[in-house]
């Protein structure tokens, strides 16, 4: 019964993803608190030992072709710079991310996005119990996200308040920023590792767009003396504006070649996306080449504090 409750809670709290889920260049930053020396108590929401605090800052920079902006293929080529800071303490995680985009004016994309995420790790019994999973607790994470980006349409003429002739066009000013918030839950169901994401984006006062998606991450594969790392993820989702529009399917394949001397990864990524466009469906291919580097990684030894 407790497992069912936890599953229900996970599903309720899962859906809303970090802004721009399955972004072609955004890495997963899940770290099991037990890997930092943390010890969970019998209750899933508390810890007996907090483990070592850890924080890191990663930088990414590169170019993307046919950038996928939420559920829309933009046909835009852009350059980007992405900074992600993560702080882990006890069973909590704090992420602060900032992304800048540079595309031509016709692309109508935001020029920057800021994201704040709060994560809560919890240890649960396996939802689907097998003989092998007996006695094993699985650490999951709930991630609450708030993101803000500048509105690329903010300079457009305002929307008339009334469509009745003769009443003039007192305009509703367009918002300067777009806001998104939502929740993501990384869960393990049997042998399946995935994330359920729910995201809500404010269009204007009283008007929202909801997205629900599921993301599955394959296990990393290593080649060439562990210098070549191959990752893949797959997601699908649906969006509600006036009604639910189903479904978008997206995969992201990334090959990372690491040069240890400069501690930098060279990444080549491909993200085919199959999405509804009006009454039809189309496949868009997003490509990215970017570098990534961990610029700060500090583990605090609690014995030395």
């Amino acid at each position: 019964m407790r497992r069912l409750l936890f599953l229900f809670a996970s599903l309720v709290f899962c859906a809303a993803g970090s802004a721009q889920e399955i972004d072609i260049f955004d890495d997963n930053d899940f770290i099991d608190p037990r890997e930092r020396g943390g010890v969970f108590s019998d209750q899933p929401w508390s810890m007996k030992e907090p483990g070592h605090p850890f924080y890191l800052v990663r930088l990414y920079g590169g170019a993307v072709s046919d950038y996928q902006w939420r559920t829309s293929a933009t046909d835009a080529d852009l350059a980007f710079l992405h900074a992600a800071g993560s702080f882990y303490r006890g069973d909590k995680q704090l992420n602060v991310k900032f992304t800048t985009f540079h595309a031509d004016d016709q692309a109508r994309l935001p020029s920057y996005r800021a994201t704040l995420q709060l994560g809560q790790y919890l240890a649960l019994d396996p939802v689907i119990a097998t003989r092998e999973s007996e006695g094993k607790r699985i650490v999951n994470r709930l991630l609450v996200t708030w993101a803000i980006e500048d509105n690329p349409y903010r300079s457009d003429p305002g929307v008339p308040r009334s469509d009745r002739p003769g009443e003039g066009t007192a305009e509703v000013r367009r918002d300067r920023f777009n806001h998104e918030f939502g929740i993501e839950s990384d869960v393990q169901l049997g042998n399946v590792d995935g994330a359920f994401i729910w995201m809500r984006r404010r269009i204007e006062a009283g008007s929202y767009v909801d997205r629900i998606s599921y993301l599955y991450r394959f296990r990393e594969r290593l080649r060439s003396n562990d210098r070549l790392r191959l990752n893949a993820s797959f997601g699908f989702g649906t969006e509600r504006t006036d009604s639910w529009h189903c479904c978008l399917a997206r995969a992201v394949f990334t090959a990372t070649f690491v040069i240890p001397l400069i501690d930098t990864g060279f990444n080549l990524a491909w993200a085919p996306t199959y999405s509804p466009v009006g009454e039809e469906r189309q496949t868009h291919n997003e490509f990215a080449f970017y570098l990534d580097r961990t610029v700060i990684a500090r583990l605090r030894d609690i014995a030395r504090r």
Binding site: D29, R58, V139, D186, Q188, A297, I302
Partner: protein, 248 residues
């Protein structure tokens, strides 16, 4: 380039000569229908040319110590005190200084070296030496090892390759990988996988910068990512300034 018809037999003869240099030539049948007897023993190492002995060495052949010296055609030659039937004695090669693992209970075959002698073909596999050293040397790091050997190609002689406790030197088979565990960390052991392939391109030393420490597998919704890798390196560096892996 086309080969002249006149040169073909010559080329074939040269090819045959090359093929038989160092190769066994069977003895002509014994007219007595008995196994040939000999005092002369030949040994041929196959598969570990770079690790063969460089100096004369001693082997026990049928309980009798025999000294072997290198011949111009690549064999090692020795003599027993008395003649014995070829095939009646077996040898085990377990030379301490030989950086190779060799086959066990090798039986002789007749070999025509002018007269019929006993040839022991000893299959072998080169070893390489892995040296693990913490920086600083007296760092309080508890280091242990877990070998991941591939099944041997032949039945081997000698005990299992010794594995030190803590920093030291390990003899490794070429196809073998190893997990170096640093265990005295609050988060639990961290594994550093190593194999000969990591030293490709002439590299003889690896440091923490060059390796990818692994988290010991736990039950998590996500197994590994770049953030986890950065954490593992940070945990090692809480205890060690560096960890050096040297290939000899």
């Amino acid at each position: 380039m086309p080969v002249s018809p006149l040169n073909k037999p010559l080329l074939a003869a040269i090819a045959v000569a090359i093929a038989f240099a160092g190769a066994a030539a069977p003895c002509r049948p014994n007219p007595n229908n008995q196994p040939w007897e000999t005092k002369v023993i030949y040994v041929k190492f196959e598969g570990c040319a770079a690790a063969e002995p460089k100096e004369p060495f001693d082997l026990t052949v049928g309980g009798e110590p025999v000294r072997f010296s290198k011949t111009p055609d690549g064999f090692w030659r020795g003599e027993t005190a008395n003649r014995h039937p070829i095939g009646s004695r077996k040898v085990n090669v377990d030379l301490v200084d030989m950086r190779a693992r060799t086959a066990c209970n090798v039986a002789a075959e007749p070999h025509d070296a002018g007269s019929c002698v006993a040839l022991y073909r000893v299959a072998c596999e080169e070893l390489w030496l892995l040296s693990v050293s913490p920086v600083p040397e007296d760092a309080p790091a508890s280091i242990s090892y877990q070998r991941n050997p591939e099944p041997p190609r032949f039945a081997q002689c000698g005990a299992a390759l010794p594995t030190p406790q803590g920093p030291g030197e390990l003899a490794m088979r070429r196809s073998e990988s190893i997990m170096v565990k640093v265990e005295n960390l609050p988060s639990g052991p961290i594994n550093v996988p190593l194999s000969l392939e990591l030293f490709r391109g002439g590299r003889t030393r690896l440091t923490l910068r060059d390796v990818a420490p692994q988290a010991v597998a736990k039950n998590s919704a996500v197994s590994t990512n770049k953030a986890m890798k950065a954490l593992k390196k940070g945990q090692l560096q809480l205890v060690l300034e560096d960890l050096h892996f040297t290939k000899n």
